[in-house]
Amino acid sequence: MIKISNLNAKYGYVNALKGIDIVVKKGQIVTLLGANGAGKTTTLRCILGLLETYSGEILFKGENIIGKKVEDIVKGGIMSSPEGRNVFGSLSVKENLLAGAYTIKSKQQTLDNLNKVYEYFPILLERKNQMAGTLSGGEQQMLSIGRALMGSPEILLLDEPSLGLAPLIVRDIFRIIQEINKEGTTVLLVEQNAMQALKISDYAYVLETGKIVHEGNSKELIEDDKIKNAYLGGN
């Protein structure tokens, strides 16, 4: 679904990505692991067209999307939940979700998606008229993922969905990500919470200072000693 080849990106004079290659196949959950500043978020920003100084090739469904406008990339079927969630705080929960469906032309489709999101996250239905800014961190994360689903994405990019959330809520969210994936949405997941992410994903890449230093099937990476020591807290 997505094939990234030799992707380079710069922030000013800093090389944030130094020629990375990533493949996400249809139906998979693929995880990008790595410490802060490794280039995980930068990779997502490149896919979404938010970065200007980058080179290489990003094929989405066979078409190079480098240099395309964000809105066209999004319309093509890539929706995302950004780091820090970024819900629209002054809009109600429902309005946030409708914003996610901006690219959907059909009213019926929007309504279907809305019901689907409420099924995944019943708490959002309960709070649909509440201002999004007043939600708890976990609820905002759910809203952010739900908002991305509103656009009927073929692939969902999730940037640190577990950031700052209580373990129980993290477990919930990862379970729902798995469900979403089972119903046909491909997922590219960026995480620092390596153990959880590896458990639900099919394939994983490990980024270090802008380069891919490991990759492999998630199940194998969980067992890998090097990965264990570096990202899974030893043992």
Partner: protein, 290 residues
């Protein structure tokens, strides 16, 4: 009591014009982070254009419609030509661009329309009527209700339409709005088009009082800034309320307190209000995420 009501009505009339202009100002600011110092002069230029059309074809509605369309076109061109490229620049740079636009427009006004003042008729030219001693000008009522109507329509647009959601999300967090597939460029240009039309409408409506002249929008332009700041730049309707408030306060203080001290008193009170509520009466403190 009659005099009090009389003052309220004429305050609402001028306040409505401040409100229209302030709504345009805040719409542009909230969506594209530009404080448009040329707003008043764009309105003046469009009113001149409207006046010329009126002079030639002698049809007031036709002139008004053409002037509004002219303003819409002007808003679109100015945004695309001068501000879109400056998107990533700081707010000061954008302010200076709009000041440059202001000077160019003033220069063009002299070239195209000369330096003379012209009289443009009122929208409603019916005779005044009298309700229990209060003299009512139909034109004033028209202005007040037209403004209220526009505010209601604008509110509906913001709350109930897709375009409204696009405006509000862009205003709050542009990058995340783009991630929803919202074409923020279109939101900018349409905001400018709506804002310049609102300004032109204020210009046409105030013209019978000020004449169509190069300085016709000075008062409204200044007051619309004050209305926006006092009402709160962070909300869409604070500035509207601010506009009406200033209009009414000006009249009441002028009549009951002191005509000479009116300006000092009204704006003194507003300054104190801002010390107590720095974000404006209806504003919230917004932290814009970077």
């Amino acid at each position: 009591m009659t005099i009090f009501l009389q003052n309220i009505i004429s305050g609402l009339e001028t306040g409505a014009l401040y409100a229209l202009a302030a709504l345009g100002l805040v719409l542009i600011f909230r969506t594209s982070d530009v404080i448009n110092f040329a707003q008043g002069d764009i309105a003046m230029f469009s009113t001149f254009f409207g006046y010329r059309v009126f002079e030639k074809y002698m049809s007031y509605p036709f002139a008004v419609i053409l002037a509004l369309l002219f303003a819409v076109g002007l808003g679109y061109i100015l945004e695309r030509l001068f501000l879109r490229k400056a998107l990533k620049l700081g707010i000061i740079n954008k302010i200076i661009i709009t000041m440059g636009m202001l000077m160019v427009i003033q220069g063009l006004t002299v070239i195209f329309f000369g330096t003379e003042d012209y009289y443009l008729r009122k929208a409603i030219e019916m005779d005044n009527f009298n309700i229990a001693g209060v003299i009512i000008q139909p034109n004033a009522l028209f202005i007040i209700f037209l403004t209220l109507g526009i505010v209601i329509i604008f509110n509906y647009l913001l709350k109930k339409t897709k375009f409204g959601i696009a405006i509000r999300t862009t205003a709050e967090d542009e990058e995340t709005a783009r991630l929803m597939g919202i074409p923020v460029g279109k939101v900018y240009s349409r905001s400018w088009m709506i804002a310049t039309a609102l300004g032109a409408l204020a210009g046409i409506l105030v013209a019978p009082k000020t004449q169509v002249s190069i300085s016709m929008m000075l008062d409204i332009h200044l007051k619309s800034f004050i209305a926006a700041v006092v009402g709160g730049f962070s909300s869409f309707f604070g500035p509207v309320a601010g506009g009406f408030l200033i209009g009414v306060a000006d009249n009441l203080v002028g009549y009951y307190w002191s005509l000479d001290w009116k300006t000092a008193i009204v704006y003194g009170i507003l300054l104190i209000t801002l010390i107590i509520k720095p974000a404006g009466i209806f504003g919230k403190v917004v932290r814009k995420k970077v």
